[in-house]
Amino acid sequence: MAKIIKNSGPTQKQINTEVIARALGAEKVGIKIDTKQGPISLFSLREFLVNHLHSTGGRPTLKGIRETRNKIPLFSEDWEKLKKIAEYYKEKEGVNVSSGQIASALIHVMLK
């Protein structure tokens, strides 16, 4: 197994995001995604979902998805995060998407 390099040196102090929200007159969207992808995260995921979800009358499905469903074991905390992300998109962005579809989208983008 490849080793993970972790920086053990000192880092600069951290600024609290609550303080930043107040100082800038902004509201926090309410979820945090632990991502190593950098800046795009929620924005690009929303774009991906809007471009790939389509409905034929029932629940929207992701275009290009396999018809056969795969059983993928998930860690409980990851499933909770996926549920929160799906709730966020439903409530805040108006995108009716399931936790499983979020997982599919993230896996697809990460493996590209």
Binding site: M1, A2, K3, I4, I5, K6, N7, S8, G9, P10, T11, Q12, K13, Q14, I15, T17, I20, A21, A23, L24, G25, A26, E27, K28, V29, I31, K32, I33, D34, T35, G38, P39, I40, S41, L42, F43, S44, R46, E47, V50, L53, H54, S55, G57, P60, K90, E91, E93, G94, V95, N96
Partner: protein, 143 residues
Amino acid sequence: MPDDILEINLGDILGATEEPSTQQLTLYVPNKDKEGRTIRNLGRWIKEAQKVLTIIGRGCTTMPPADGTWLEKDTDSMEALKDEDILWEKTTLINTYIDPNRFVKNLKSLREFLHRFGRETKQGEVVFEFAGEFFRIRKYDSK
């Protein structure tokens, strides 16, 4: 410590002269207003955002414009969603790793810029990311 993690002081090894910053700030600058009209002087706004982030992080990186969307109408389901409910735009992302002291010192300037951008370019909302969290501004400070 698990066997698969190798702890090293990267700053020492690579000869970095300062402690690394771990918090990233990203501003989103779209090319359209909330009505779908192209913003005039977009380059000036982007340059101003770059200047603010350069002060905060001693430099910044601007990504090429990306395809972006904004939900114009308050629709909450895919079944009710129409193409005209979505504003399609080109968004420029500008990011920096903050210097904490400079960030705090320049919060007022950043707020002034974000709110003025939202107000003067008639944005439905102004969004930014900080430390992996997503923020939005919907009510702008008056002049």
